[in-house]
Subunit: 436 residues, 2 copies
């Protein structure tokens, strides 16, 4: 049986999971690849630390990248260091020494993807990155190969497990954001510094990668309008539920006449629809193609073994030679064709909105608010205003929740500003998107 | 740009959908394949009939298979005739004349797969068959490539859209089986003769294909124990709902210590779980891998364009060269390794059961029934027996529904026989499996 020699660079959570799959399940990896997938080197920074983490066969562990670079028999490398540097430089060095790359590093691809992909092509090398989006869900292969007969029309995804865990827990337990974050950190679902997860950065980076594959658009993730879950109030989860919705951090890419609309934001999703029911650390993607219609994927979006599953599938595809063919195809897909226009004029985007206001509890308030909305051609679909305790003074402020019919983002934004200026409205207005 | 010349044999529902994608969307197919995907011939039985169905460019339509066989420039053929013959003979002839094959014909693969695959290997040809299972859901590629790092542990699927449509409609409208079938035929969701769909044959054939890929087992679909939905009583859908379940025609492959358990049967699924919520003509598959955990797929399981989406993805993969590499890998996967033992001793399978009996409405009945169950080590989880109209005679027969805790199929089957022999039980006992 043929043998493919593999190296892993970075033996952290994902790297040690990949090593485990290769070492403990060599038989089945060989069966599924038609060749032996041989772990020849694992490069770490600190050998003693790595030894505490896991036991590797003699001669595999090294702290010298040169042991991989100078070994011509190693043809495929799983590059599993996080962050931008030294990950980028290491990846370039590895490709220059003739290695094909498998990586899980979405931040690196979102930031330096064009440079790395171009360099890979010049060098005749390939980069596989299934693990970079949605962990164990093979969404990269599905978009770039399995649905290739389609013009994809939209992608909607829950792409950040940490945010989804936090929102699910807030929703189910009625807890505050800060309490749930602390709990998520204790359980290992959130990093010590979860900023990139909860502010929508991670989801935007993943959406940029998916939209690039699906629509041939070159997207700077930083241009994607994004709102995280870090400002979410449990009250909004409660009102949403009362209206028949759950709130999820939704990443959306939508192909319209005007171009590609991209966004990441907490969004109301109708209870009972598949995306609304994605709980805790799960991820999910709904893709709509013009031929296939809607296809829905659901699975674990992170974690050691789900992510390692995606990395090892890529190692097999690369060893077998499939990745190279896909990579050549992708070159045509996104290299030669002009990227689709990206819709930057958010004002014209249409949708329904959820508004929560703190209003004066006296006659005429609802009328004043309804007038502002109707001045902006926004019509009201439903209202929640609970009866207040009659023993309390009627000039107390009370919450008012409004679901609108379809309106443009521009109109909703202007109306919100106007509402915030009304004397019967106190403080700022919470405005969230609604998907049916 | 390179060009791959393609032929379609059989221009029916799927064939004409494939022709439409190739003709109307040549640009994007070329972009996604990195080459022109050129429809050169479409072989039909009756040229006049085909002309009524669709307009093809001059010179494409032919009623002679030899026009494809003798044309060396045609390298890939979508074989889209249904049934066993002449589909089998045509496929062999095409491969012998050097063509790679793409097909949607699950009946042919389930019946003659081993012969066709062996012949393809001898000839150095490939067969791609994404469209043969679950229509637009790319489950073949997902199992044989995307999840290749895993030992799959189970597959559960709703694989027959016609059955699922019928059961969904019976459930939602409370209608009888026969009425819904007539309606499904009128709407085009069921064939004039829907026997193979509703008796579980089609689902068993698809399960045989999936289990072959997932577990390396060579399975004669006819050996898979199967029960269709043709005997389903709306009363059971109602009682199931009362207990918090829906009934679906579920195909299951489960890897246990004792071997591979396979079955197709109407099964109670807990309301709110993803498989229970698959409605109408949709299909879905839940796969569990030892590394990735559970992955869920949902999409349109049949219909012209979803199926054509799968066929064209296969045509692209074949033209690009990926199919050949996968096909070689699959050879190792299932050719050289002994198939996993198939668990044929259904008696030892464990599960929970739903029982519905018609019983005498007098004291002692429930005791007698509970005794039989406890004699077979089956304990009762819940019971439904509605109060009867007191004006009616108490010796009338009334329905009794029992949900058991976990028991073996053998014990449940013996207990059922015993129950049917009790004087307080009238007629036969309905017994269905329950999945939580
Ligand atoms: N964890 C997940 O669930 C998941 C899911 C999808 C994608 N990813 C991505 O996968 C990548 C790895 O994630 P992870 O969770 O495995 O992170 P991690 O546990 O922090 O592992 C990263 C490893 O890289 C090592 N490293 C850093 N610089 C190095 C160098 N110069 N040479 C050799 N090793 C070096 C680190 O060593 P030290 O221990 O010495 O710092 C650490 O062991 C990241 O890009 C992440 O975004 C992770
Ligand atoms: N329809 C779906 O949604 C779906 C989904 C998944 C898989 N499939 C599978 O795809 C295959 C095709 O299904 P379909 O729905 O397209 O069936 P269909 O509409 O009946 O089409 C089959 C076509 O093959 C033609 N044909 C039969 N014998 C031929 C011959 N000797 N030479 C040339 N053409 C011949 C038939 O011609 P006539 O019109 O003259 O009879 C008919 O046009 C089947 O194996 C089916 O199981 C279908």
């Amino acid at each position: 049986m043929e043998k493919t020699n593999i190296a892993i660079v970075g033996l952290g959570t994902v790297g040690s999971g990949v090593a485990r799959l290769l070492l403990d399940h060599g038989d089945r990896t060989a069966r599924h690849a038609g060749r032996t997938m041989w772990l020849r080197k694992a490069v770490v920074r600190d050998i003693e630390k790595a030894k505490q983490r896991m036991t590797l066969p003699d001669g595999v562990l090294t702290d010298s990248l040169d042991d991989v670079i100078n070994d011509e028999e190693i043809t495929v490398v799983a590059q599993l260091i996080g962050g931008l540097e030294p990950a980028r430089t290491i990846m370039l060095k590895l490709m220059e020494s003739g290695k094909d790359i498998v990586t899980a590093n979405k931040a690196l691809l979102a930031e330096h993807g064009p440079e790395l992909f171009d360099r890979a092509r010049q060098l005749g090398r390939s980069i596989a990155f299934e693990a970079s989006v949605a962990g164990g869900i093979p969404i990269i292969a599905n978009i770039s190969q399995c649905l290739s007969a389609n013009q994809l029309q939209s992608l909607e995804g829950i792409l950040n497990g940490t945010s989804n865990f936090i929102v699910s827990q807030m929703d189910e337990k009625g807890s505050d954001y800060a309490d749930v974050v602390a709990e998520a950190q204790r359980l290992g679902y959130a990093e010590a510094d979860p900023t990139m997860d909860v502010d929508g950065t991670d989801a935007a980076q993943k959406l940029a990668i998916l939209a690039h594959l699906a629509f041939g658009a070159t997207i700077n993730w930083n241009d994607i309008p994004r709102i995280g879950i870090d400002g979410l109030d449990p009250a909004d989860l409660r009102y949403a539920r009362e209206l028949g919705y759950r709130i999820k951090l939704l990443a959306v890419a939508n192909l319209t006449e005007a171009g590609l609309e991209l966004s990441v934001a907490p969004t109301l999703l109708k209870i009972g629809t598949p995306l609304a029911e994605v709980r805790n650390a799960f991820n999910a993607i709904r893709a709509v193609g013009d031929a296939v219609g809607p296809v829905f994927y659901h699975g674990l979006g992170a974690g050691q073994m789900p992510t390692a599953s995606a990395v090892v599938a890529d190692l097999i595809d690369t060893a077998v030679g499939r990745t190279k063919l896909t990579f050549q195809t992708l070159e045509y897909f996104c290299g030669e064709n002009p990227p689709r226009a990206i819709q930057r004029d958010a004002a014209s985007l249409k949708g329904r909105f959820y508004l929560r206001l703190l209003v004066a509890n006296h006659p005429g308030t609802l009328g004043a608010i309804a007038n502002v909305l109707s001045d902006h051609s926004i019509s009201i679909a439903s209202v929640i205003q609970h009866e207040t305790d009659t023993s309390e003074s009627t000039d107390r402020m009370v919450p008012l929740v409004i679901m609108t019919h379809e309106a443009t983002e521009g109109a909703a934004s202007e109306a919100t500003n106007k509402l915030e200026g009304l004397s019967v409205v106190s403080g700022s207005v919470v405005r969230l998107r609604v998907k049916d």
